[in-house]
Symmetry: C2
Subunit: 198 residues, 2 copies
């Protein structure tokens, strides 16, 4: 549930370190900071170096639906650059997060001239498609309890890292429903400690 991509991160770190590309810059986001806001223009692709962020869509109903949690190496903004459209989701830091920013021009150059970069991006996107397909399918056809068990299996310290509200929004349920199911699981989850627990 927390997506990472070391291969891609390593490649970009090396690229930056090689000095051949000084347009790649590094930033830091504090907890709660929005790195990308829904329905705004995107002029770079972003890459998380370290930290944790949530990627979510706000619906007309006011509900937030969390697409995914992003950890080290995860990339975003590439969809907007490729389709030339405004962002369809918001990326918000859940912990202090450092990230790289690669401007559109550099991104297009790399895509064209760097075969390795091109392949890495294809793999990254293919992986996103597959992962979300599997996740949403599972979500549609299983009860809350099973979804939660699966989640806890993937990330045992889930409740230390992510607030209940965010977990509920990730599962597409309410916090009340989440709380109702929790006691039925063997595991005894501890409380959410905020970003101090990372």
């Amino acid at each position: 549930m927390i997506r990472v991509n070391c291969t891609f991160l390593d490649y970009i770190v090396k690229l930056k370190a090689s000095g051949s590309n000084d347009s790649i810059t590094e930033y830091e986001a504090v907890v709660g900071e929005k790195i990308i806001s829904q329905k705004t223009n995107v002029q770079s692709i972003y890459l998380i170096k370290n930290g944790l962020a949530k990627c979510y869509l706000t619906e007309d109903t006011g509900n937030d639906f969390i697409q995914e949690f992003f950890g080290a190496g995860e990339v975003f903004g590439e969809i907007e650059l490729i389709t030339n459209e405004i962002s369809f989701c918001t990326i918000e830091a859940l912990a202090p997060t450092t990230y790289f920013k690669i401007p559109k021009k550099t991104f297009n150059q790399l895509l064209k001239e760097d075969a390795v970069f091109n392949t890495l991006l294809l793999q990254l996107m293919a992986s996103k498609i597959k992962y979300t397909a599997l996740r949403h399918s599972y979500n549609q056809s299983h009860a809350i309890e099973k979804k939660l068990r699966k989640l806890l299996n993937e990330l045992p310290n889930l409740f230390q890292k992510i607030s209940k509200n965010d977990i509920a929004n990730y599962l597409g349920i309410t916090v009340r429903s989440l709380n109702r199911v929790l006691p039925t699981l063997d595991t005894t989850p501890t409380l959410h400690q905020g970003s101090s627990s990372q």
Copy 2:
């Protein structure tokens, strides 16, 4: 809800017509035929020339969840080729469907040597990611009635083209629930006529 991609189809048709690539072959699937089966090896990418197919995942519960309906120009198999993994979904014809098959070797060659093809594939994948993100988000945060209205808005003759069972599996609900909501809509849907109605 029925995805199409004329640009990509045109490009492949021209590529094939130019004679420069005789490894691209054409096939026809009858109604109910599975073009790709879940958990099998994939050695080509596929491209629908004409017809209609459903792309679905079968869960351990036995439930089918329909990811998307594919119309002319839609591509599949590319994820499996890029990630080098077995297929995670089944593609099944809902109407007589003609499609192209591009072998893995040719696909990789095109990706490397044909910049236009490379870009088209990136766009296609970006579009898939965005579309499914929006759809699943909407599905998670809206009641059945709204989901159905949205669908009927996109495709007024929905019920002529697709069976209720498939529509239910696309929305992640049961046929019973679908039938319950139908009378509350102004529209009076007619019955599913099978493939004869196209």
